[in-house]
Amino acid sequence: MCPFCGLGCDDLTIEEEPPSTLTVRSTDCPVAREGYSRTTAAEPPRVAGIPVPLEEAVEAAAAVLAAAQTPLVAGLGTDVDGARAALALAERLGAVVDHALSDGLYRNLAVLQRTGWIATTLAELRNRCDLLLVAGPDPAALHPRLFERWVAPAPALQTPPSREVVFLCGEPLDSTRAALSGLSVTVLAGDSARVGDAAASLAAALADPSRASGTASIAAGDIAALAERLAKARYAVVAWAAAAFDGTHADLTVERLVQLVRDINRHTRCAGLPLAGHDNVVGVNQVCTWRFGVPLRTSLAGGAPLHDPHRFAWARYAAVADAVIWVSAFRPEVPAFPAEQTVIALAPPGTAFVDEPAVFIPVGTPGIDHSAHVFRSDTVVALRARGLIDRGLPDGASVLKAIAAALPEEAPAC
């Protein structure tokens, strides 16, 4: 069960060559191959660059955090248990919480919170969709096996079991074309920055295709034809990966797509498929939402959780935080923080740092070193990825719990 991109592929063949080298044999998916290849041998934690036992690193982290006034608990590339532990720690500290990859997620959530939407899940796409409209850049760049696993098989629950795929304001990758070789594929390449305009034109043309106007470098005739196909589809799906949208207000692009889906539903069925989900961002957001009643980008500093997707985006808050605990259990990457900032990093062994963090604790990768729950991109399906090897690394959750336990005692509130 591959935990990395949020598609939840559970058909992988992975071979282990001792000591601890994993190779994916069954697919050439670059995300799976890279994710499983990162099995550098365990290394000891470091405090100020000096190797120390785990207990000492935990004490050092707790000391830093106990003294912090405006801590940030972020990155949060971790499984459900890791998220629980990180959020509990953040609650103790009165910290701000966010996930490294929440930008794409927030383009979607902003629209969900403003207007709501009509959405679907991957098995509905696979079994019922007769017309897939892919809006914007090809999501396969982020979710490589999307088309192979969820679009290429014929829909089992639709008569006749036919499917066509249209790319709007984006071109399919070569691998996507190959995966869809048996299907009717239409490419309206257009201007990828203007996919929202194209959606608005389509919505306007639904009622009367003869009044369609060209937009985003797509001819009026093509808009009219597509609008007609959407209106005649039995179950159309509009898919997008918001992380790939350009521009500072990409949520408005999402909003137009959502509005298009809603309009099509006045006559036939149509549903959106907002794709996100690398490093379990969807799962961590779920855990945060059920534990605090509000999603990520929340401050726990003042009693009741305060959610503000602008103020509490980690990249913005990092500028005022006086201590950062960064969790990146899925990948050996930690962003560069200002040199004067105190950083505690929980990441795989071999992570390269621009500046050595105050405390570095190597942790195992969910689904490689330990069993883990992660969420699929469609937010509905939680998956369990089993551990494959033992490098002797602690999991993120136990390190975070140990740090919380090392903080000064404090009574829980109701």
Binding site: M1, G8, D10, D11, V80, R84, L109, L112, Q113, R114, T115, G116, W117, I118, A119, T120, T121, L122, A123, E124, R126, N127, R128, R149, P153, A156, L157, Q158, T159, R234, Y235, T268, R269, A271, Q286, V287, T289, W290, R291, F292, G293, V294, P295, G302, G303, A304, P305, L306, H307, H373, F375, D378, T379, V380, V381, A382, L383, R384, P412, C414
Partner: protein
């Protein structure tokens, strides 16, 4: 450790106690028989004059899972407003897991059950329920719109195969009961059908809702699952839907059936407003048939959010959203979810009549063992409004006073004003403790006899029943004091209640093939392992007795 709860007035309907003064003894988390005069309790609570009941059990409350999280996201305004209060977690329609556990415990509840766990979302629901502190939980599995079941039925499979399928699904998803939501309707909506009659073939599998309903009720009986089929019926919220409700009762032909949030399904289409109470007809049918039980789904006035698997009904209601935003989802070839924020207004005729219909049902259905106190949290109102609801049931003067404040046309459309019944403390104890435990098959809960888990609530007997039930003096969970005077004083983790009916596993190879061909997930990965539930320390299994009903 031996604890003595001395001299309280004990309401324990399962053991025939109706307010008689007596002592209770607790050892190692369970109630034990009086150990005799020689025993020296380590702890004694003097409960003279207090009212003692088992911990309350909510049989229908949407406390966890995907739709609950969507509701939280959609209701960001209420959380933002709450963040400005000193303790901003009281009375929310979409409380966090933490607040859910705390508010329930503070009201004397020690268990609440999520009644709509979708198969594909079951793992999520369990992960979330494990984060609800203090109370026991469990989930009812939503079936009846899953393409796999409909395909099985369409293939002409017999009762045994259907029961095997249901048996596998309950085991795999670690569920306590079977829920059917608008059987066939959610599936039909995926094919753009906005209505489906009980005897109309669905669009793809060509199976009627009646067939699905009877097949599931039969499977539940055959597997010996303690809880009857938990049915969210047809045409939710539509005037005139009482006919379909009565038809459902007739369709199961003597099999046990639980009609949930029946208030939303007890509407006539008569009168000048083409919307009328059909509570008397439903109550009459329930009173006559001991195989039928109901929970009410009372509405209370104010802002809430409705969350349901019933996309067909929710899509019809989406235009009424307040605030004006809503979410629909088609889910994983097994169901859907519709989340629509809603504000029930006491000056609106329809909402006032809904309120009255719920109360009519409570007062007209005679047997408190077969009617349950619910608001279908959060659909009718947040569960935190139970104390107010109890007061409405126990205090006729209060009820009439509230009624007088509502829409002026209400009195001529409801018989509520003429209903003199007032629930007794014993009936409340039945409806909120003994009966829920019995109808779910929780043999060692909901009562205070020796061997029962020591989930106990102690109240001061106040004439204002709302005040009384809002803030118990003491709440014990597993024998530990968790709430004193309305304040949580200790945290502990609840358990997850499940059934594991026996079934013929040969069904699994057929299912595995379908999973491989369609679901993009292997059947072995779909199945939830025991160690995934509360880290392996949380399951409580309840016995199934095939053919015993």
């Amino acid at each position: 450790m031996l604890t003595k709860l001395a001299g309280g007035r004990v309401y324990d309907p399962a053991n025939g106690r109706d307010g008689a003064v007596g002592d209770l003894f607790v050892r190692d988390g369970r109630i034990v028989a009086d150990p005799g005069p020689g025993a020296a309790p380590d702890e004694v609570h003097d409960l003279s004059g207090r009212v003692v009941m088992a911990g309350a059990i909510d049989i229908h409350s949407h406390i966890a899972g995907g739709k609950v999280n969507i509701a939280r996201l959609l209701m960001a305004e209420e959380h933002r407003a709450a963040a400005e209060e000193p303790c901003g977690c009281r009375g929310l329609a979409t409380p966090s897991t933490h607040a859910t556990g705390c508010r329930y415990a503070q009201m004397g509840y020690t268990a609440a059950f999520e009644p709509a766990m979708l198969p594909s979302n079951a793992r999520h629901a369990h992960l979330e329920m494990a984060d609800i502190p203090l109370i026991d939980t469990g989930g009812y599995l939503v079936l009846g719109n899953d393409d796999l079941l409909l395909e099985l039925l369409a293939s002409g499979a017999g009762e045994a195969a259907v029961a095997d399928y249901v048996g596998f699904m309950l085991n795999a998803t670690r569920s306590l009961a079977v829920k059917a939501v608008n059987p066939g309707g959610i599936n039909a909506f995926k094919y753009n059908q906005r209505r489906l009659d009980v005897d109309e073939n669905g669009p793809f599998h060509a199976i009627t809702p009646r067939r699905i309903l009877t097949a599931l009720a039969g499977a539940v009986q055959r597997l010996g699952i303690p809880h009857p089929l938990h049915l969210h019926g047809f045409n939710l919220g539509v005037p005139g839907n009482v006919e379909a409700t009565l038809d459902s009762i007739a369709a199961v032909d003597g099999l046990r059936l639980h009609l949930t949030h029946v208030q939303f399904h007890a509407y006539g289409a008569e009168g000048d407003r083409k919307f009328s109470s059909a509570a008397a007809r439903v109550a009459e049918a329930v009173n006559r048939r001991p195989n039928i039980s109901v929970d009410v789904g009372q509405i209370m006035f104010g802002q809430t959010v409705t969350a349901s698997a019933d996309t067909m009904a929710q899509m019809n209601n989406a235009g009424l959203a307040h605030p004006k935003k809503w979410v629909m989802m088609d889910i994983e070839c097994d169901a859907g979810c519709g989340v629509v924020p809603f504000r029930y207004r006491d000056k609106a005729f329809v909402n006032a009549l809904q309120w009255a219909i719920g109360l009519e049902l409570f007062l007209l259905i005679e047997d408190p063992w077969r009617i349950f106190l619910t608001t279908d949290h959060p659909n009718g109102a947040p569960f935190t409004s139970y104390p107010e609801l109890i007061r409405l049931l126990m205090d006729r003067d209060y009820r009439l006073a509230r009624m007088a404040e509502l829409h002026p046309a209400l009195p001529e459309h409801t018989i509520l004003g003429a209903l003199t019944r007032e629930y007794s403390l014993g009936e409340i104890a039945t409806m909120t403790r003994a009966a829920p435990a019995r109808i779910l098959g929780l043999t060692d809960r909901g009562h205070l006899g020796p061997g029962a888990v020591a989930d106990i609530t102690v109240y001061t007997d106040r004439p204002d029943r709302r005040a009384m039930f809002e803030k118990p003096d003491l709440v014990f969970k597993d024998g530990r004091l968790i709430v004193r005077d309305g304040v949580v004083v200790a945290f502990l983790q609840g358990r997850t209640h499940v059934v594991e009916p026996a079934y013929d596993p040969t069904i699994e190879s057929w299912m595995a093939r379908r999973f491989d061909e369609r679901m993009g997930q292997r059947l072995t990965h779909f199945r939830i392992a025991e160690e995934e539930i509360r880290g392996g320390n949380g399951l409580i299994r309840h016995a199934c007795q095939p053919g015993s009903f």
